[in-house]
């Protein structure tokens, strides 16, 4: 355990140094050309310097002064993007060489009848693994520093409230910690112990602390509201419910209050924080849902449920595939109402025999099927009904079905 603590301390120190470096270095925009700048640098003929005589680059390529190679390529007139990729290839070549020195025996022993058994988990020693992970991190850091990332991640719209420099800092911290976590995972050889969990917990806490340290107290609050687990869940629901920003904020506040009271803040905890029974929890969830329902109103609530129903989602896909009228999913889904109405009418008819009732249900099923075919076309309807509206098959056998917002039942199963 002591050794783990030392290793973690070393990692934390490394990270602190990295943070210091990130915080005090020039803004990333000044260090790397933006996409637009690179494009104009790359392929605008006007940006090509005056012709220079053929020059021998052998020494520049042989050296490990990658920054100098990049400058030289730029000076010679290499487009920015290509110059960076050339230097990236040079950095990776060196990495490959150093990798071979650390693990010279790590060649594949794959044969045609079995995969190689010298996957790094099998063949490399712990020391080799540690050295390779350190080398991989060093290489990635060198690449980032000299030539920038090989691909730009899509901007995270949740962080749009932050100045660009802070956004980049946070992305960098996230990336660094992800690498550290991956490194810890790799070094477990697939055998996780309590000390691994402790390390992961420590990294989680350190990452959170580092990220929060980048922001002002106001920014932290907004950051939490946009990126926490509660926010992630709510963003998903928000897109179904069509929430406005104000509604999102209101519901977020309600959810956070309950979570703060009852949920463990430790994502590695085996179980939830004690102090609340399942029944109590269910009551609170219901009270919360009632509040959300009151906030968004019945129509949006029902609509959100409908959109999450697999039957409806498949109708949306069919509509898209066959360029059907945009109201097709709603029209087909609304056939459920016809089923409800017809069955209520049958219930009200006291003179109908059991056989007559069964026949009416079979007729209803045929009518519904025919309408689905009318909306989707015969082949698409067949494909749709094979895996959706499964209650229709039961109805076609003369059995009564009851359709709920989230499921369906037969009368027999409800009576049981």
């Amino acid at each position: 355990m002591n050794r783990s603590a030392i290793a973690i301390a070393a990692l934390a120190t490394l990270n602190a140094a990295l943070l210091g470096y990130i915080a005090f270095r020039a803004s990333p925009t000044s260090e790397y050309a933006s996409d637009e700048e690179r494009t104009s640098l790359s392929f605008d003929a006007k940006s090509v310097p005056s012709p220079v005589p053929a020059s021998d680059f052998s020494a520049a390529f042989a050296s490990d002064d990658y920054a100098a190679l990049l400058v030289r390529l730029h000076q010679t007139g290499f487009p920015d993007r290509i110059a960076r990729e050339v230097v990236r290839a040079r950095i990776r070549e060196d990495y490959q060489e150093r990798f071979r020195v650390i693990a010279p025996e790590a060649e594949s022993d794959e044969t045609w009848w079995r995969y190689g058994r010298n996957h790094r988990d099998f063949m490399l020693t712990k020391d080799q693994l540690v050295a390779i992970d350190a080398l991989a991190r060093e290489t990635a850091e060198t690449e980032d520093r000299i030539v920038g990332p090989s691909c730009q991640p899509e901007p995270d719209i949740r962080l749009g409230f932050l100045p660009e420099q802070k956004r980049k800092q946070i992305e960098r911290i996230e990336k660094d910690y992800l690498e550290l976590e991956a490194s810890i995972q790799q070094q477990t050889f697939g055998f996780h112990t309590e000390s691994d969990t402790a390390k992961m917990r420590l990294l989680y806490e350190e990452r959170k602390r580092d990220i929060l340290a980048v922001m002002t107290p106001e920014e932290r609050e907004i950051y939490e509201m946009r990126t926490s687990d509660i926010a992630a869940e709510l963003r998903r629901e928000g897109s179904w419910l069509g929430l406005t920003e104000a509604e999102f904020r209101q519901i977020y506040a309600l959810r956070s209050k309950i979570a703060a009271l009852h949920e463990s803040s430790d994502p590695f905890a085996q179980q939830e924080a004690p102090g609340i029974s399942t029944e109590e929890r269910a009551r609170e969830e219901k009270a919360l849902n009632d509040q959300i329902f009151a906030l968004v109103g019945s129509e949006r609530w029902q609509n959100a449920h409908k959109q999450q129903d697999r039957d409806y989602q498949i109708l949306v896909l069919a509509t898209r595939r066959f360029d059907l009228p945009s109201d097709t999913p709603d029209r087909v889904y609304a056939l459920r109402e016809e089923v409800d109405k017809t069955i209520s009418a049958l219930d009200a008819n006291t003179t109908l025999s059991a056989d007559g009732r069964a026949k009416a249900l079979v007729d209803l099923a045929a009518r519904i099927r025919s309408q689905v075919e009318g909306h989707l076309g015969t082949e698409a309807a067949e494909a749709y009904l094979q895996t959706n509206m499964r209650w229709l098959k039961t109805l076609a056998q003369g059995q009564e079905v009851i359709l709920f917002a989230d499921r369906w039942e037969t009368v027999e199963s409800l009576n049981r």
Binding site: F43, A45, V48, P51, V52, P53, A54, D56, F57, F61, T76, G77, F78, P79, I82, E85, V86, A89, R90, E93, Q96, E110, T111, W112, W113, R114, Y115, R117, D121, F122, E154, P155, I157, R158, G160, F161, T188, F189, G190, F191, H192, T193, E194, R226, L234, R235, G238, S239, L243, L317, A318, R320, R321, D323, E379, A380, E382, A383, Y384, Q386
Partner: protein, 436 residues
């Protein structure tokens, strides 16, 4: 429906022509197109860069900023850059010519998109595009690929980090290349069907896919001699894909694989037929499952007889969770190499002790329960001694020797012969005292 074979036939004619061309091409010219053969190529090393004699001329720099990709390729080669780097740079320049058109089809996310909502359309990938846009995107991709191949030849394994599929090593280089082209062509056609389905699949989609798979198989077979076909089946069939995993687990020899393959294939043909991913699976009654279990047992027996008792036992052990967790712990904790076999043997000791306890008429119900718990405690102690407290805790948590819990509850256990786990049985309850 009849339009389908016609539609696909056009693609297949093109494919057949491609196979013929490939086969007729001299084998010495398989790695680069004809247009490249007259160009000076001073570096042939496998490294990313060749750092000797690299001359970057003003003409090259101009070409890097121009549109003539063929001239650029020739100048890069003449400058002394390695094949890999030439490929990277030329590909970047080709891509540049198409970049704007691809970006128009796949626009950047709206920066003003509400932060409080997930963008479901973007998560759907291809589904955000209309049919016409998808077709345009595919057309552009094909153009990029054709242009790349025209200038640089196909992406060979050498340019793919040196990885080579060992399973195809029995084929000559030109046939490997032709095979890859066939696979790529059919993959594209199948991928188009998937994309066009937009997540909503019809029976006719499944039929198209089946047709393509059959045609692909036919084209591949046409490429090979009867002996090569047999070797291909042995290496690339569905049975081979599954078997390869198992063979890796117990480090099988080639002879063992060759002996097991026909047995497994016969089983798969009857019980694991390929499925189109669309049609409902046929309904199976209890008789089917009973028959299948019997056939599986028979298959295991056949395997046992062809690879021998010792290797069979070893293969079962290597698939057992108790063993795999011990191997993982040994690697992780840097333990002596014999740790897994030493600790795995505790199972046999425990099983023998359990049997003795269960059969011992001198022991009462409670004494037997206590004795079983003592066996479990002894076994756990031995694991702790070897793995250390933290290692043992992790081992038990990962369900290593999960059967110990049964002993602690006072139940007996027997290990199944096929290494699929263990069976447990409660001790017979003591007879109730007779009523007075």
């Amino acid at each position: 429906m009849k339009a389908l074979p016609l539609l696909l036939a056009a693609s297949l004619v093109v494919n057949a022509a491609l196979v013929t061309v490939t086969l007729r091409r001299p084998s010495s010219d398989t790695s680069a197109p004809a247009s490249a053969s007259t160009t000076a190529r001073p570096t042939e090393g496998s490294g990313t860069l060749n750092s000797t004699g690299i001359q970057l001329s003003p003409e090259l720099v101009s070409a890097l900023n121009g549109n003539d990709t063929q001239a650029l390729r020739d100048l890069l080669r003449a400058a002394g850059l390695s094949d890999d780097l030439v490929r990277t740079i030329v590909q970047m320049r080709i891509w540049k010519n198409y970049e704007a058109r691809f970006k128009a089809l796949h626009p950047e996310p709206d920066p003003n998109q509400p932060w409080w909502k997930d963008d479901r359309d973007r998560q759907d990938g291809w589904r955000g595009l209309t049919k016409a846009q998808r077709e345009e995107s595919r057309r552009l991709q094909r153009e990029v690929r054709d242009e790349t191949e025209r200038l640089l030849g196909p992406d060979t394994p050498k340019s793919n980090r040196g990885w080579q599929d060992q399973r195809l090593a029995f084929l000559p280089e030109d046939k490997i290349k032709a095979l890859r082209e066939i696979q790529q062509d059919y993959q594209e056609l199948m991928s188009e069907i998937h994309q066009d389905s937009q997540g909503f699949r019809l029976a006719s989609d499944a039929e198209k896919l089946r047709f393509l798979q059959e045609e692909q198989k036919r084209d591949i077979e046409a490429l090979m001699t009867p002996e090569e076909r047999q070797a291909y089946e042995l290496r690339m069939s569905n049975t081979a894909q599954q078997l390869r995993h198992k063979m890796t687990q117990f480090d099988a020899t080639e002879q063992e694989y060759l002996a097991i393959f026909p047995l497994q294939k016969a089983f798969d043909e009857k019980y694991n037929p390929p499925h189109d991913g669309y049609s409902p699976h046929p309904e199976r009654d209890q008789n089917y499952w009973k028959e299948r279990r019997e056939a599986e047992k028979q298959l295991q027996e056949q395997i046992r007889s062809v690879i021998g008792e010792e290797r069979y036992a070893e293969s079962l052990r290597l698939q057992d969770n108790d063993w795999r967790q011990l191997e993982a712990a040994t690697r992780r904790l840097d333990l002596p190499a014999d740790t897994p076999s030493r600790l795995y043997a505790l199972r046999d000791t425990a099983a023998a002790n359990v049997q003795q306890i269960a059969d011992n008429p001198a022991l009462g119900f409670d004494e037997k329960k206590a004795a079983l718990a003592a066996v479990a405690a002894r076994t756990r102690d031995q694991i702790r001694t070897s793995l250390g407290a933290e290692g043992a805790e992790a081992y038990f948590k990962n369900n290593g020797m999960g059967w110990l819990k049964e002993l602690e509850k006072g139940n007996t256990i027997t290990f199944r012969e096929d290494a699929t786990g263990w069976d447990t049985k409660a001790l017979p309850k003591p007879p109730k005292p007779a009523a007075k």
